[in-house]
Symmetry: C2
Subunit: 441 residues, 2 copies
């Protein structure tokens, strides 16, 4: 049994209702007690009592009078998103990034561990542990760690089933290494699923409008989310929130779009399948193609670059009108589009957000993807599917790692408020965090 | 607002708990009060009170002493699955089947409406209404109608977005036509999703072992279901229950495996996509291939057969060792296998059940599918995925239509018990249903 087992779920109905209030405030910003009562189907006295407890425990603050109230005063309430912080750690094939964020996803501090090879992995695991413990020791307002790892990630076992181009990660048991390594609860999620959580929690365009009148927002924030985060980076992954819940599958291997074949007679993949989407449009595949004899004249120094740099080179060259680069980028974007068609037919989300390295291609990517979708997806389904690029203020997977922790906070906010008090008491000092711009990677 | 709106959800905590008891009994068979209390986390007095109400309302019956109780008497309880009946209606491209089933999925009466063309559809809708009303009038123990329709089915609008090879169905609004057409609640579901519900509710191998001792079944029936029903019939469809819940997507268009491409440069499909799985292994595609010039010598009379007959002919010829038939069947089964690989990578279920016309190929299908999966799916995921053929006592989609209604019964059993009493009072006679073997299609 984990020492952090109590952080899973609220232990009473009052705590469960406080969690519902915290999530609503996180989603909507500033709300009145009356609006919260209406949205959650609770009585005004019940809400007053719950809110009083949340103010006392430091979860909620009053923001002053709301505009628009007709006859009586209406005081705004907000979740104290800046008072609690989480660490997000993103494990990619060849690098590890970390960052400190507040509950609103605001980046406060960021860093990276150096590039690594397959052999460095045990040392990297050790370095992550040391780094996270250092950051935690310096800031008692950090109450959880979220980690995002490449999929397929076997969530109950704590292992990655396969990391194409980086087999070394298969030997790491993330649950054993990290679940008890820190003085705060630690949660691990497949990278694209973490990204989906980040889009859902932090992407501003998805938020319900703030309270603008005495009757509250026009749309009640109760429609269940159907969202796909389509990670096109070193690997290709997908995280799907369906009717408000992440799709995991039996062992955590669901929504592995990167290994869904787009051509059963196509390129072989390390997973055993042929024609895996990942083999055509991941940063690794792009880099590989740029190094192929076919393109030797076009990208002569590409062999010395890392995958991210190779992609950047391709995007720049294409933007300058270079013919081979434009043609290759178009091929890549077309395959990203095939992936979108599969996402629509397999998961029918209302929104597909494309993120990570290959999303750096920007507008040309979005244009091609939308064209492929309009040619190949059913009108009824594509017309109700918005496709956009991630607009988060940081790497979507890193912010996703933070979102995994924030999501857990919102499931049991009272437990985390206690933890925060306890940590502040122990360390005996106020949090000192350098702003993001001063941080050293 | 529907006149049957009250049948959606239980209206009190007591009713919700009765629904939980009903579902547990439906799943496990015969259980003691003590076991139910333990499984649901309720106190013994609470269970006694709830069970007393359920006995009084005719939902539950006592079955006598259970074996294995050590010191005190342990009386078995069972859901009265034979006392309540539902009608299932299966809409396929060119035929409509219907059947009466009890809550355990036992077939009591079955029939079919004649084969139809695109032009007959309005008449067919009318004929279904008349037929269902006749059956309902004769049997007051029928308390709901479930319907299964080909996907992609837009669940909120009540329309089918596309029926390949049978566009006429697109003009039908199922919600408008049927939701108020009968004196009992009517529910409509995409066919493969209905099939998934049937596998979950009625497939015996999935049931938790019956009570064998005073401590109840070894495994508590609380593990969330991750099940895929893979419909390979006139169309190719998929229904996925993930963590106990059907995956629907925003408009009901999720899990449309038939239109997930296995070859982006492959055969064009009416949906706009290319290389849709359905274009390679549906009964329609098989029939089309058998009619192609390539096979003109092998299946000379196949043009005069319907799709089901054509498939039967292929399976028979292959079983007799006929070379072109064996080769074609192997190609078809290979594509069914590609579909399984995509299911594993997209949904990671613990069980894939293959059903409908093409499942009639039997063992050769299963062998090829398992071989393809072992070649192409990740070991970690395929090793925890059982693949089998549907073993239900009736067509899985027809039984699925019934399962849609039974599932709703189990969500609010007290409401249906009242409805049943009310219907019995009105009609003033006991149900008279001919057994299945005497029914006339």
């Amino acid at each position: 049994m984990s020492k952090h087992a109590t952080f899973g779920a609220p232990s009473s109905i009052a705590e469960a209702n406080q969690a519902r209030i915290a999530r609503l405030l996180h989603q909507c910003g500033i709300l009145s007690r009356a609006y919260i009562a209406k949205a959650l189907g609770l009585t005004a006295p019940a809400i007053s009592k719950l809110v009083a407890r949340m103010i006392e425990s430091g979860l909620v603050t009053e923001t002053g009078d709301l505009p628009g109230a007709r006859h009586r005063r209406s005081i705004g309430l907000a979740l104290k998103t800046a008072a609690y912080r989480v660490i997000g750690v993103k494990f990619a094939r060849s690098r590890v990034d970390w960052g400190v964020f507040d509950l609103a996803g605001k980046p406060l501090q960021q860093g990276a561990l150096p590039l690594m090879s397959d052999r460095d992995i045990p040392g990297t695991v050790q370095a992550v542990t040391v780094q996270v413990n250092q950051v935690l020791a310096a800031d008692p307002s950090i109450i959880a760690v979220g980690m995002a790892v490449p999929g397929p990630y076997l969530r109950h076992e704590g292992r990655i089933a396969l990391v194409t181009s980086m087999q070394g990660w298969r030997g790491v048991n993330f649950l054993n290494e990290f679940s008890q390594a820190f003085p705060v609860p630690t949660f691990i999620e497949q990278d694209a699923r973490a990204g989906a959580l980040a889009q859902n929690l932090f992407a501003p365009d998805h938020r319900t409008p703030r309270l603008t009148g005495p009757n509250g927002p026009a749309a009640r924030p109760t429609a269940a989310t159907n969202l796909a985060y389509y990670l096109v980076g070193e690997g290709v992954g997908l995280g799907v929130i369906e009717s408000g819940r992440l799709i995991n599958g039996e062992r955590g291997g669901a929504t592995e779009l990167g290994h869904v074949s787009i051509d059963v007679n196509g390129r072989p993949c390390e997973c055993g399948n042929r024609g895996c989407l990942e083999r055509y449009c991941s940063a690794v595949a792009i880099h590989e193609t740029m190094c192929a004899p076919e393109y030797s004249g076009s990208f002569p120094q590409v062999g010395g670059l890392d995958h991210a740099q190779a992609c950047q080179l391709l995007f720049q060259r294409a933007a300058q009108g270079d013919e081979p680069a434009s043609e290759l980028l178009e091929r890549v974007c077309t395959c990203v589009g095939y992936g979108c068609v599969s996402i629509i037919n397999a998961f029918n989300p209302s929104r597909i957000v494309i993120g990570d390295l290959v999303a750096g291609a920007g507008r040309p990517l979005l244009d091609t993807v939308r064209r492929i979708v309009s040619e190949r997806a059913l009108p009824e389904l594509r017309q109700s599917t918005r496709i956009c690029l991630s607009s988060l203020p940081a790497d979507a997977t890193l912010l996703g790692a933070a979102a995994v922790a924030v999501d857990r906070f919102l499931q049991a906010p009272t437990a985390y408020a206690s933890l925060s008090k306890q940590r502040a008491g122990k360390s005996g000092h106020k949090p000192v965090i350098r702003p993001a711009k001063e941080s050293q990677p």
